[in-house]
């Protein structure tokens, strides 16, 4: 255990004090201000702000697209993590480094590039649009950029767990007559599930709040491709501060719940010695 008596190691009150001070000043007080502002509305005003037709379609789109992107990330991330850990092939190092690019590329740039790539005269759009696949200014585009921005999460959470798995269990499964597929499904997948879920939840949470990339590819068509954060910005531009705070409050509560889930998952995952 790394716990030490406070009398031996110095700096306990200084470090804790500074940490709590920063946390309060930068995160907690501002977030409390948001709830305080939302609370200045009456109950019926609050309800009208967060549950009208535009807001409902924005929530549905935000959650639907984020969920789709997180599912895609889980599947693709598992594949990429598997290949990176299990197989050796040329340029593996470069391949490994490329996975982190979505973290480094500004999201607004990602949105711009994707919309130009999939536009009718773009590099990929010129082949896809004739087939009726339009990824710019559509919901498909939103899912696509959200998949891009959340891509590293699943790979980076699954990879270390996959590396740490013992070969013995797999060997035993094979010796007992399981096929490769059975071994994967019955032996490996259960051990990977917690980390897979953590990565999924992280990608989902990130997608829910994503703004920079989405506004450039969605076209922000009213009631069709307007996501919840865009709605907040619209309210803000109309000086509807309390209404904006109310919608933000809904998003905040959702992400708190999600955060609680992530923490539970991580605790569960620790049982597998991740």
């Amino acid at each position: 255990m790394s716990t030490v008596n406070r009398r031996i190691l110095p700096g306990f009150s200084l470090s804790l004090g500074y940490a709590v001070f920063s946390l309060s000043a930068l995160v907690l007080i501002p977030l409390a201000a948001c709830f305080l502002k939302a609370a200045s509305l009456t109950w019926s005003e609050f309800w009208a702000a967060v549950w009208n037709e535009r807001a409902r379609s924005a929530y549905a789109l935000t959650f639907g697209a984020s969920l789709a992107a997180a599912v895609a990330n889980a599947a693709l991330g598992l594949l990429v993590a598997w290949v990176l850990v299990r197989y050796s092939f040329p340029l593996k190092r470069l391949f490994d480094a490329l996975v982190d690019v979505p973290f480094a590329l500004p999201t607004a740039v990602a949105g711009l590039v994707y919309s130009s790539l999939y536009a009718p005269n773009g590099w990929l759009g010129q082949y896809l649009v004739p087939w009726g696949i339009e990824a710019t200014y559509s919901r498909l585009g939103i899912v696509l950029v959200l998949t891009f921005t959340g891509f590293p999460f699943v790979v980076r959470t699954v990879q270390p767990v996959l590396e740490g798995l013992d070969a013995d269990v797999e060997e035993a499964a094979l010796l007992l007559g399981a096929t490769r597929w059975q071994t994967f499904r019955r032996v490996l997948l259960p051990a990977l599930t917690p980390s897979l879920l953590t990565g999924f939840a992280l990608a989902f949470a990130r997608a829910l709040g994503e703004y920079g990339s989405v506004i450039f590819i969605s076209g922000n068509k009213r009631g069709e491709t307007v996501i919840a954060p865009v709605l907040i910005v619209r309210r803000l531009e109309a000086f509807g501060y309390a209404e904006a705070a109310a919608i933000a409050g809904v998003l905040l509560v959702t992400s708190f719940l999600l955060l609680a889930c992530i923490n539970l998952l991580e605790r569960w995952g620790r049982r597998y010695g991740a």
């Binding site: 299990r86 480094a104 500004p106 590396e163």
Partner: protein, 252 residues
Amino acid sequence: MGLKTTTPVPVPVPVPVPDSEPGTGTGTGREQDRWGQNDPPLVRWGLTLAAMAVVFVLIVIPVVNVFSQALAQGLGTYWQTIVLDADTRAAIRLTLTVAPIAVVLNVLFGVSAAWAIARFRFPGRTLLVTLIDLPFSVSPVVAGLVFVLLFGLQGYFGPWLRDHGFKIIFATPGLVLATAFVTFPFVARELIPVMEAVGPEEELAAVNLGASGWQMFRRVTLPNIKWGVLYGVILCNARAMGEFGAVSVSAQ
């Protein structure tokens, strides 16, 4: 690993890592690597190609597209836009001011939070760990909004700030606050596991041998955690430079 050492290696020591496995960094995957090679070639190459295709379509093509568009009108135009355009210069200068300040703030917070959390037990410790992650799950737009609500003209401190001639929102301090909020957890999250893995023994020894708190930190703790700090700084900086949602709300 035994399977791969059949090719003669010039160094007579049998233990070194074969060149096939530098990618994943941790070096624990070697046993698995051999194991994975037992998959039928069709499966192996099929999966590898599929993964490459995913990364190619999702990441490589867009990145190549960025550079090809940037350089489409030749290096001269590129240079002209970057260096000669006053707006671009101001924007780059502002980004290069805001990101480092946010990074420094988060490093100070990250180191002290990691020290308190990894080295001591205290009531509310788990809660603190959870709260540190909070900004990750908050939409950047909400992050920008909360500072507008606090310091904007309609905000709680807005009138006071205006009367005393301070400008936070729609100015550099607002940008710094929003950026620091969004990148808040990176350094702390990176450092807590590193510090826990290193353990307090060396620091205890240093203190017992008479080092002051600052000496212990500079000579023992810092060398142990420097790579963690660096990685946290890189992640934090990348996100700080690229942040758009939070900044566009609090600085439009």
